[in-house]
Amino acid sequence: MPTVAPDAGQGSPQPDHRVVLEAHGLTKHFPLRGLSRGKAVHAVDNVDLELSRGAVIALVGESGSGKSTIAKLLSLLIHRTSGDILLDGESVTGRGRRLFQRHARRVQMIFQDPFGSLNPIHPVRYTLTRSIRIHKGRLRGAELESALDALLERVQLTPPERYIDKYPHELSGGQRQRVAIARALAADPEVLLADEPISMLDVSIRLGILNLLKVLRDDFGIAILYITHDIASARYFADRTMVMYAGQVVEQGDSESVTQDPAHPYTRLLVDSAPDPDASARTERSEAGEAPSLVSPAPGCRFSARCPYANDLCLAETPELFDLGADRSARCWGYSDREGKPDVSGVTRSVKESI
């Protein structure tokens, strides 16, 4: 599979990589009601991320890791508990229709279930027209038709006449997802938050959608947050990869290094679990275990219960993200300078010199 570096783009001009959407210390706690009042589910804790034009960042994690919540926070569908979200350097604060609509014009979202995200009673025409109406104003007649055609062509649903009057149940999964992408594109967004866009599609279709997203990144310079539980596709598609576990970022770096040379034990676990048709036998068994409860989490590393390298330090204190050089970091005591840190040399395949 080809490696994708941020500056590649066969024949297209060098896209500018200014940061469009960033989050600092993004946190979301869901307060519990009833008997457990006062406690909260720590869905997302202190996440920093930067989305730049023409680049794709993959957010990898299992269910419950908080990745979908981050997408909803970044699109303002739910309100953050603390932390800052900046669009083009300006902080996005406050509530209200105006703010939300302004934000929606520039930050759009694609959902996981292609059938669920389209209203089954509206044809494609209605869905796309609404989107155009909201973001581009009242277009009528020939103008509207050509705008609709352009949208469908952009997502490679051609000829447009064949799809424009269809209902969602008359389209295949991949086609529906393309319609969902078209709906998002009607706003001419600078950021696309794709929440597991291909998880519910047939395997043979997935590549088509990913390639479409690639086109959007390369030719239109859209910043994409690609959320997935499949780390292999992150490597294929994303420039940078961030791995999340139990609401925290546990590792980040460029996709190639993170997937080929993981630093954090959890990333190693993910990489090993990815199906590899070339492997004849499993060399390492995957660790059994469940994600910890996110309700008022105990101190200590949240992965320690499943980590084969964990020691007392890991159980006692929560690690921060430690810099590994080359724009990589990992949330693991093994990469710190602390006394009594665990020995994580077994995680990486090659020996690291800088630590």
């Binding site: 599979m1 909803k72 699109s75 569908l77 229709r97 939300f100 609509q101 929606a104 014009r105 759009q108 979202m109 959902f111 996981q112 279930d113 669920g116 995200s117 389209l118 209203n119 089954p120 009673i121 509206h122 609404r130 989107s131 909201i134 973001h135 490679q156 649903l157 051609t158 064949r162 799809y163 209902y167 149940h169 008359e170 389209l171 295949s172 991949g174 086609q175 969902a180 709906r183 998002a184 706003a187 043979s204 279709i205 590549l207 088509g208 390639n211 479409l212 690639k214 086109v215 030719d219």
Partner: protein
């Protein structure tokens, strides 16, 4: 730009299956499925009967052979050619009474249905969509009205009004009937609210009123229709009961009034069955018609009920007992099946091509 051919395969088989390019069957479009509803035998017969009653409600007084109030010397006569449904203790023609009484019943029934359904939609959808405190308050209110027994409440309200006319009765019935529909609609709205398409519409920038009206509400039409029909049934039964007890005004002729007079003049002891049987049968007929329409809506909405029932016979022929839990796949017409097989082969072929493409 990466050259991509659309390797997408035609949609999975579904009862309303259609393939791009293939001749579109009328059943394919959701918009066109209104006609599918009419093709449903149960719904159709229900609507026909309803139509008949509506007609009688409109023209009743004109086609009635006698004035329902008119006395005659033929007292308590069994049905004959002169009096198709016999006469009362004052010689009045029961048949005319039934015809004329239809209007009252239909008007009160449908007005109650409309008002109660509107209330139910407003309360239920608001509570379901907004959630939180408004939901608690609205739910509490509808639960209170649900638990307090309807008939006794209507009785004491209507009983303390002198000479309660059509509209007052309709208003009082609506007051107790909206709660059930509100509860159901609230649950349905909450379910839809959580669905991705609502989140997606929000993320796209749609405004809340538009989401409620244009996205969620159309998905609720079947439930609203069903609730309406149920409310009309309730209204009809209740007003007949009220008239029978003597709560409503006896100046207006309705099926219930007929029964009231029958009861207070010992029709039973006299053995004058013709006095109260027609009215009861009319009520039953109307109720059955409404229930049939409701069944039709049910089957139309739940594709599983639709297909399992439809194919039960065909399956039985093949020796398969259609148990609950079977979801038979509509194999479609022969041409559709053929086209689908071809498409399946195309997928297999394209899968190989994609794999090579990605290397």
């Amino acid at each position: 730009m990466t050259a991509t051919t659309n390797y997408e395969v035609p949609p999975e088989s579904n009862p309303a299956g259609s393939l791009p390019g293939a001749p579109r069957s009328k059943r394919a479009r959701v918009g066109g499925t209104q006609f599918l509803f009419l093709r449903n035998a149960k719904a159709l017969s229900g609507l026909v009967i309803l139509g008949l009653f509506t007609l009688i409600a409109i023209i009743g007084p004109w086609i009635a052979p006698y004035d329902p109030d008119a006395f005659s010397p033929d007292i308590v006569q069994p049905p004959s050619w002169a009096h198709l449904m016999g006469t009362t203790h004052l010689g009045q023609d029961v048949f005319s009474q039934v015809l004329v009484g239809t209007r009252y019943v239909m008007v009160v029934g449908f007005i109650s249905g409309i008002v109660a359904t509107i209330l139910a939609v407003i309360v239920g959808v608001t509570a379901g969509y907004l959630g939180g405190f408004s939901d608690e308050v609205l739910s509490l209110t509808s639960n209170i009205f649900l638990v307090i027994p309807a008939l006794p409440l209507i009785i004491i309200i209507a009983g303390q009004i002198d000479d309660a006319g059509m509209l007052i009765i309709a208003a009082v019935i609506s007051l107790t009937a909206w709660a059930w529909g509100a509860r159901v609609l609230r649950a349905q709205t909450m379910s839809h609210r959580r669905r991705d398409y609502v989140e997606a519409a929000r993320a796209n920038g749609e405004s809340t009123p538009r989401i409620i009206l244009a996205e969620i509400l159309p998905n609720l039409t079947a439930i609203i229709a069903s609730s309406f029909v149920g409310t009309v049934t309730f209204a009809v039964l209740t007003q007949v009961t009220l008239a029978f007890i003597g709560v409503t005004s006896i100046n207006d002729w309705s099926w219930g009034t007929i029964l009231y007079w029958a009861q207070s003049n010992q029709a039973l002891i006299r053995g004058a069955w013709w006095w109260f049987v027609p009215a009861g049968l009319a009520i039953a007929a109307l109720g059955v018609a409404l229930a049939l329409v409701n069944f039709g809506i049910d089957e139309f909405v739940n594709p599983r009920l639709r297909s399992t029932g439809k194919y039960a016979k065909a399956l039985r022929k093949r020796g398969v007992r259609a148990r609950v839990g079977f979801t038979p796949v509509d194999l479609g017409t022969k041409s559709e099946r053929h086209a689908r097989e071809q498409a399946a082969e195309a997928t297999a072929a394209s899968a190989v091509i994609i794999k090579e493409d990605s290397k």
